[in-house]
């Protein structure tokens, strides 16, 4: 963004935080930050902020049973608002009675936000939230746990079979833990994590230099398949894919080629264990 080797602009720092720089540019910024601790602290805050913001809003990227109704209301140019009292005039008598009951209930406890969900008959939806938020959740998990020294995992690699059984049970999906030793990574352990609000599993790996990778698995209600996708933020790369009921995400702060090899290897091994189980 600027040619002068000695100058680093706000634009450069933003691009650094947003992970859109080449490795050479990153190295230049990092060198500069070493000599400018105040700006380095600022960059650290920006990075933490980004993680916090993503985590804060991730849960909202979900489908809702009334999305289709939302669309048909909107298509009719109907100005109905989600609050029950404003929805009521557009509904039949029976529905108005339900809405009235709900409004009473909502007044005391909720905000009324969920009331129309019970009023819609057509509940068929196809969530895309998993594909959308999986890499973000994987990156948050990586950033939080990969830097943990003592509590990076709940169950260590020494209890590998217990780990697979336990997490498989919570995920409600038989599970085998990928062996990445051919790529120089050994298992550190695993933990239970919320993924899209349900139980998910994370495995952590480490190479000889302490470089870490995580493999995240979460339920995918959508039950479809996707190709490999890549998502990077703040220099953290994630390969992710969805295979029927499970979404997978492989995350690390390593070169993309290496991460792809890891993702390929995981995919191959998950496929194989799938095949032997079914």
């Amino acid at each position: 963004m600027t040619d002068d080797f000695n100058t680093v602009s706000d634009d450069d720092l933003n691009a650094y935080v947003d992970g859109v720089l080449s490795p050479e540019q990153r190295a230049r910024i990092e060198k500069w930050l070493e000599r400018n601790p105040a700006r380095a602290e600022e960059v650290r805050q920006w990075q933490a902020q980004a993680v916090e913001l993503r985590a804060h809003f991730a849960g909202y990227a979900r489908s809702d049973v009334r999305d289709r109704a939302l669309l048909s209301r909107a298509a009719q140019g109907d100005n109905a608002q989600p609050a029950p009292d404003r929805v009521a005039p557009h509904l039949g008598r029976r529905m108005r009675a339900i809405a009235a009951g709900l409004a009473l209930f909502a007044a005391g406890t909720l905000t009324g936000l969920y009331a129309p969900a019970l009023l819609t008959a057509d509940t068929e939806i196809r969530p895309i939230a998993v594909a959308d938020s999986l890499p973000r959740q994987a990156q948050s998990a990586f950033l939080v746990y990969a830097s943990e020294v003592r509590h990076a995992v709940e169950v260590g690699a020494d209890e590998q079979s217990h780990l697979a059984t336990w997490l498989g049970k919570r995920l409600d999906h038989p599970l085998s833990i990928p062996d990445l030793s051919s790529l120089g990574f050994s298992l550190v352990g695993g933990r239970l994590l919320p993924v899209n609000g349900r139980a998910g599993a994370m495995f952590m790996y480490e190479d000889g230099t302490g470089q870490r990778l995580t493999v995240l698995l979460g339920r995918n209600d959508d039950n479809r398949e996707t190709s490999f996708r890549i998502d990077s933020a703040n220099g953290v790369e994630t390969f992710y894919w969805i295979d029927g009921p499970i979404g997978y995400a492989v995350t690390g702060e390593v070169p993309r080629e290496l991460l792809q090899q890891v993702a390929d290897e995981c995919y191959r091994q998950f496929e194989k264990s799938e095949a032997t189980k079914s």
């Binding site: 600022e42 920006w46 979900r62 989600p82 905000t111």
Partner: protein, 183 residues
């Protein structure tokens, strides 16, 4: 993996009234819901904004140029969010209702942390806030944001810096003086 899901795959003929365009919009709703919520003060307000946006997307369908529906819908949402912000600023009683909504919200994460971040975000201008959300949460490139908001890329960058600094500053203040109560 043979659990059957009712009609997940062949829904083409199931909803004769809705067409491909509406299906595409429907698929965007989760992302739009998140973006809407990231621009406003409360959950009900987010759902409200989402509804306004979906309505506008459908009614302006003829104006869509056929490329990148997602970016187009996000642009519409950005503008609606800015208008709403102005409206709320002029009608304080609306803001009061929304604050009630925020308190009624019950999530598993630390509510204090959540409201701390929300307060800091509410201090941002709507322009700076949208740029921050489009880049950080929605993952748009700077150039995309410039096109979506019809502003020069330099403006995107300065808004982004300003949003980040202001947010960091607000969070810092909040750490030192935590006497303000949510109610």
């Amino acid at each position: 993996m043979s659990q059957s899901r009712n009609g997940d795959d062949e829904d083409a003929g199931e909803h004769p009234a809705s067409d491909r365009f509406e299906e595409d919009v429907l698929a965007l709703v989760p992302a739009l819901r998140r973006y809407a919520r990231s621009l406003v003060r409360s959950d009900p307000d987010g759902e409200d904004l989402l509804q306004d946006c979906v309505e506008k997307v459908l009614s302006r369908r003829a104006q869509w140029r056929g490329v990148n529906l997602r970016a187009w819908a996000f642009t519409i949402m950005t503008n609606l969010g800015r208008n709403r912000h102005r409206y709320v600023a002029m009608h304080p009683q609306v803001a009061l209702d929304e604050d009630l909504g925020l308190q009624a919200e019950d999530r598993e994460s630390d509510p204090l942390e959540r409201s701390r971040l929300e307060r800091a975000l509410n201090g941002l201008s709507p322009e700076n806030r949208s740029v921050l959300m489009l880049v950080v949460i929605e993952g748009y490139r700077y150039q995309d944001v410039a096109e979506m908001m019809a502003i020069p890329i330099g403006t995107v960058m300065s808004r982004l810096s300003r949003a980040r600094r202001q947010l960091a500053e607000a969070m810092k203040d909040d750490n030192v003086i935590s006497m303000r109560r949510p109610k």
